[in-house]
Amino acid sequence: MKFTLSWLKQHLDTEASVDDIGARLTMLGLEVESLEDPAKDLAGFTVAHVVEAVQHPNADRLRVCTVDAGGGDRLQVVCGAPNARAGLKVVLARPGTRIPVTGDVLKKGAIRGVESQGMMCSWRELGLGEDHEGIAELDPALPVGRPLTEVVSFDPVFDVSITPNRADCLGVRGIARDLAASGLGTLKPFEVKPVPARFPSPISVSLNFPREAADACPLFAGRYVRGVKNGESPQWLKDRLVAIGLRPISALVDITNYITYDMARPLHVFDADRLTGNVQARLARPGEKLLALNGKEYVLDETMTVIADDERVEGLAGVIGGEETGCTAETANVFIEAALFDPLRTAATGRKLEILSDARFRFERGVDPAFVVPAMEMATAMILELCGGEPSEPVIAGAAPDWHRVIGLRPQRVTSLGGVDLSTDAITGILTGLGCQVIPGADGTLMVEPPSWRGDLTAEHDLVEEVIRIHGYDNVPVATLPRAPMPRTVLTPTQRRGVAVRRGLAGRGMIETVTWSFTSSAFAPSFGGGKPDLALANPISSDLDVMRPSVLPNLIAAAGRNADRGAKDLALFEVGPQFDGGAEPGQQRQVVGGVRAGRTGPRHWNAPPRAVDAFDAKADALATIAAAGGNPDSLQVAADAPSWYHPGRSGSLKLGNKVVAWFGEVHPRVLKTMDVAGPLAAFEVFLDAIPLPKARPTKARPLLKASPFQPVERDFAFVVDATVPAATLIKAARDADKQLITEVSVFDLFEGPSLGEGRKSLAIAVTLQPTEKTLTDAEIEAVGQKIVAAVGKATGGTLRG
């Protein structure tokens, strides 16, 4: 919403500066988006008089002027403007003045050998328009020597952003009222006087709506004015419209635009001679067409309200007028329309037809229901004033809906909700300033009747807001939020493990990223997705059109993008939702996903890197589970990861039959689909599948039982069938003596022709930890035999000879 200072001052009596008005508007919730004050940059410029202008001795196009700068000062100014001549009143800049359009500070100098003690400026050089034909020619009556800003008025332009609840501030008067209520001036009285009628209207008005759509247009006020002359608007009106970015068209059109911005009241003026018969408001018939004022043709439907004559639709109610009955230079007789239209219907129509207009913007937010007939009178008066003519009797159909309502306001609510202690008088003063009627009730409650233009005020809290808004949010004292003396743990165990997992994986050298919750429907099926109920109905682009069934496609794509930039070795992870179940709220799963690509590190003189593999992913998955508080030792490992993993180089980590994680190399076919080079190792850990640690009554740890006796390590190499899982062998060895054996590790894997086809050798190191006495050789030997027997039984393996 734009307006100028002079326009505001037409409604507001104030001495406040432009900056003070701007600051107050923002603090009233009418946020100033821009404030252009041309005078701000014109501080050093004064009015001067050209006493003499003679030809420059060394340049054909230059003149040497003698300028009276006031106070007896005579300056010599060299000027190249074709209109520089004796007798002219000009805008003078002396050395040291900043020229707005260039930002340069003027210096004294010589031009082609003649000293120049100042500069006479064009409007363009002052930042005021594009006129650069010559220097600015001022009114000859202006006094010499006076600052330019004191004798010429420059109208600052405000652009404020109006929140959707403040329909009344889509007119200058509403803004002036808010400023006045806040103490920044006085609202000037404004009254619309009915214009006496000269004859009965030849056009009648009717409202033809089915009962269920009666609210589409409850009131229509029309008036016929004959014998108008539609020319250009007067300068003041054109200036105002231009200042706020509207193009002056003709007096009749400009009047409607003016009232729209002045009173937040859109209206329409028809060329009455182009109407056929009478005017009615009704619902459109399906398929009816309207050629609108914007030159486009619209096909209407039965949800839209139209203004029609006996023949056809002539306007889209509250949205846009029709081209066929618009006013032109030839218009001689007009019909004024001021009506009330249903905000919802207007908004829906505008949305459906994609028409943005000043009228729609106001009607869909709600116009003042009591300012229908007055608006018609105001328009009539302006038309008579600017275009002449004779008004008919008003024609009015329907009635304004009852907008009167009374809201109880307990003054203490301003304190208990608004946080500021104000007297009943102060509260009453503020509300009255906004146009409310305030009557003290019996128990101290104020009975408040909001004005017709404040349809947004419906309940007590609305009034509290108005009171503290006008009083000033800045003036509400800051109160400290009461709080417990010591902060408590605020994260749930589930939330805490999200934090632990992130920092744990980052500690392992992985880099956290955040990718979209969507992915491409081209990739989703490769990761178990592609269900139609998890596709977006209105995706932002075709590569982000479904909810991601897994974190991996986005991470793999990210790895590919980084590889394209030359970063082939990377380790990325993300903690976030995946949508692999139903679409219902809450069916998403919190997942930790990670990928490692390329090699384990840069080439190094001492520690050569290797290609990443399934065991990197397995380690990451186990570390994630441990960071989340799970026990990696309690997990079963199986080679049954889903199809997006390499079938021979991937596996699952399970608790019972619940999958806690998948890990492994990504299937080459999937990488090919995504056009990403491998190898690439990935994991997915499902945080919800990790049981939360049991709440314990004490945080004390079990007592440390450190054995005083040295542990003993013994190595065994078993030859087993190549298909025997290492885990089976390890478990068998470990379980051979649960008391003594504390650790079994695999330190060698060998497959070779010497063992025979389909055989492998697994070498394990077993740690025995005696607790009561040092083990004798015989005892160690006995445990060794138990291990060999247990492994043999479980795997068919024998000691390697």
Partner: protein
Amino acid sequence: MDKLETLRAELVAAVTAAADLAALDEVRVTALGKKGRVTELMKSLGGMSPEERKAAGAALNSLKDEVAAAIEARKAELEAAELDLRLARERVDVTLPARPEETGRIHPISQTMDEIVAIFGQMGFEVAEGPDIEDDFHNFTALNIPPEHPARSMHDTFFLPERADGSRLLLRTHTSPVQIRTMQTTKPPIRIIAPGRTYRCDSDMTHTPMFHQVEGLIIDKTTHFGHLKGCLIEFVRTYFEVDDVPVRFRPSFFPFTEPSAEVDIGCSRAGGELKIGPGGDWLEILGCGMVHPNVLRACGIDPDEYQGFAFGMGIERIAMLKYGIPDLRTFFESDLRWLKHYGFVPLDVPSLTGGLTR
């Protein structure tokens, strides 16, 4: 005695001349070994008279001790020389690079969320969560956003396909549905923050289709607008770590709060560099207000008894402002260079006592 003297001189000379430990050992055997020359002389003592033996024995023992000492001294010398030689051989070029280790990073969004939790946690807010896929009721209706509100149009909201009953699920456009879910399941007093992913069908220089917000909600019987100001001023000053940053509450409008405000913080743009703090300029950072009675009613809470405030803040925005990250879109590009540059090392755990930021 001359004979002994000659032997002493001879042996000591041999010890001194031993070039390495092996040679020295040879000298030791020659002198003090079982058949060594000194040992042989000792054996001869047996055939002497007691007086002779006493004198000769003393002289021989002295010779033996002296030679042994000389050997020990020489041995130490040779060992030191040998160690020096070995160490010289073992020299490495210490200017060679150490074995590589990768340090991971925490994404700025996670770090900022941790900071937010640390601050509001101190004020007694617990962390609540809600689903990314929402229904119309929780995202709009319960928040006093009527069906005709433009926010519901296709323009802003991502929808899932229409279901058999004509309804459509959607991606939450703000974290405010978590307010509703919390109020539906928790009895006041309530103090929560809810950080999370949010979605709007918008993509340009300053908008991404997914972004993060943190929601805050207090419901009790006494919290008023002054508390809202106090709480958020404390947050802003703690988060930006600028004690004197000006904070301004501007009246605004949201369907789910009344009175409503937008909050600006002071900044300066002197020299083209944005600095949070006093400086005459303002930056909008969040929206807030007292919870609208209709919202309380929708959650089954009596607005005549309970009241409170709510706020919502863009996490990327405050991260950009604090850490000088210029472009919103880069948060989601997974560019390794960006992640390493703007990410945080895992040991930078934000805490109010240990420091919010290193």
